[in-house]
Symmetry: C2
Amino acid sequence: MEPYELSASEAARSIREGRLTSESLVRSCLERIDARDPGIRAWIHLDPALSLAAAREADKRFVAAPSAVGPLHGLPFGVKDVIDTADMPTTHNSPIFQGHRPGRDAACVAIARSAGGILLGKTDTVEFASGGRKAATRNPLNPDHTPGGSSSGSGAAVGDRHVPLAFGTQTGGSHIRPASFNGIYGMKPTWGAVSREGIKHYAVSLDTIGWYGRSVADLALMAEAYRLEGMGTTAPVPLAGLRVGLCRSPVWSSIEPAGEAALHLAASRLEQAGAIVVPFELPEEFATLAEVQDVIRRGEGRASFLDLHLSDRHRLHPELADHCEHNRGITTRTLTEAYDVAGLCRARFAGLFEGIDVILTPAAPGEAPKGLHTTGDHIFNGIWTVLHAPCVAVPCTQGPNGLPVGVQFVAPRFADANLLAMAEAMAPAVDPGMMTA
Amino acid sequence: MEPYELSASEAARSIREGRLTSESLVRSCLERIDARDPGIRAWIHLDPALSLAAAREADKRFVAAPSAVGPLHGLPFGVKDVIDTADMPTTHNSPIFQGHRPGRDAACVAIARSAGGILLGKTDTVEFASGGRKAATRNPLNPDHTPGGSSSGSGAAVGDRHVPLAFGTQTGGSHIRPASFNGIYGMKPTWGAVSREGIKHYAVSLDTIGWYGRSVADLALMAEAYRLEGMGTTAPVPLAGLRVGLCRSPVWSSIEPAGEAALHLAASRLEQAGAIVVPFELPEEFATLAEVQDVIRRGEGRASFLDLHLSDRHRLHPELADHCEHNRGITTRTLTEAYDVAGLCRARFAGLFEGIDVILTPAAPGEAPKGLHTTGDHIFNGIWTVLHAPCVAVPCTQGPNGLPVGVQFVAPRFADANLLAMAEAMAPAVDPGMMTA
């Protein structure tokens, strides 16, 4: 087994046990990228010498003080190119930012490095994680299909085993959907639990940093690095008796046969493994949350792109300039109404978990669509983004085109650690082949 | 009259009428700073050659196309040093960021430049606009007293006529309070109406960019540059019959005699000028909003300082490290409860304006306190910050120490343009000597 084939948690264990060096892991990942990326195009920027030097430093630190290393010690990670990095360019896949070097790490990158992680490179993204220019990235399982977006490169890079961990972002469904399309695990933590400083703003009350891995344990390593409340103190959760609310969600009319099949397969596997699956419906007032997400996204996007619209309008994609030029029916009145519905639903959400422990719901309508002109539909994600709820995507099955289809688990705000513990218990049932690990 | 004595709107008119050049205005401001700042210490960084070159460019653009210039054309502005600037350092008054050059303008600076403004320099601030190290700035009206904070330098610079406009930020009361302490006008727009990209994050759901000037018309120039909804289309508001809700607020027990006197003086002047002043009380559920603001500020501050706490803990002020190290009773449960009270109150706030058009309430407890170890108390500001409501500070009177005491006007979310129109009508009554203009 080559080092690049190890999941993050497997590699971390090997490094801690002295059976693997960070340098050999990074080298193996770089070789994998050399072999695969010409066809996948997940990466915008790599700096092998820099990453290898950081890995050698990490190996030295381990030798000097094996017990003092952080949870991500020696593990390479990829960074969506809307997230600032001190020693690599940050382009946002925008002509305005070609070659831009912000000179400082975004908070999430600085923390990952403090926890021992090795920055491997920057991954392709939809322009500003928003709209306009798509990533050049292809789905590693079928290059004629999208890997999803806007976290296209990070999803494909982890899916194709270029790197064990990578960062994405989600404002609508940019993080969880690509997890499903690439057959990997993804976590979007509670809004605000991880600093967004140093990432492009789109809709500040929705924007969330997320991460990809190839197991729930991988996701937990990152959650530990960010010191999410309850990490390290939450007990394992038994699957037997776990009450899973099967939520088709208010946007069920957008489901495709493959998405429906995955949801029901996940539910039946969980039942067979001892969980109690019950139907779960969101109350009436949650019915408009997908629209609420769109109104907030566009309404806040107006302020977020105004600087580029005024200073550099010819290089800003017309789709993004449109946020500033036309209100498309989104006024401060509709934005205020959307804020208030969102606030009301957020306040009620935790109270819905009386008869259930966790929500099981689609991660995407179905398989990754064909073509690179689309990144798929975020309709099954926007609701949970606007609720600020933590979400974990877990692979489940394949669709008619042989492409992966996952599901997601959702918990109340700030129940991130408990959600990870429940996902750890459920994943072996939902993803029995551990497709990706 | 020297150019530096002109308010922003007066200077803008003179420039448009060809009676003043931007270069002579900038030169006059720099001379004023030379004469005054050794005693005031409002500025952390100045680059006279750069500012003068930008002013000369602006003068050339005006000659080439006098009708094509923006609302801030040729006007120098100061920038609180937690806001990124492309061609000047951004230090956050932190040892970690000494000499740091982010290489890009924060969105608010980029927009001000696109509107024709000239960056004059960076103003001193409380460390990261949060806590820890205080600004070295002194109150221009009495150097033994604080100018307030955390927007200390910007408030003092506009108060002492070093520059006609300056940016501050507000998470608790960092913008409106210094306006009162320095006898100037200040606006905190609706949360989210102006992009916070490129400013230090503290508590993302509270952080707001604000600006200072020496008249309501000055504040309106900036609001126009940010294209706040309704600017340019809102009709002037007659003072006669305007219904002003006199709100002592749930934190009235913190008022000082000078703050109480200013509030009642403003009310009686407004009544004499034809406004209808009625008592206004916030409903019971708003009673805890000052505490809610503190919980959100500290709760979100934990994520905001974690990167520096992990990567550079010895240079992070202990007061800020404390956000990460100790929860001080603020858990994700209390944070969630605070979010929900905030969301509920925000949703109800606009509905309280049935019998009134605008709220009149204290901008600060009283005069600026003595000493530079404090920046005063934000207790009268946190409520409105957490409500995301636009606020305009207007000077009113002097306290027993001869220091200024202002009041503030508050309107529902996104009523920024209407608030400015109402403030324009009220200011001549509240501030009859136009103390600052």
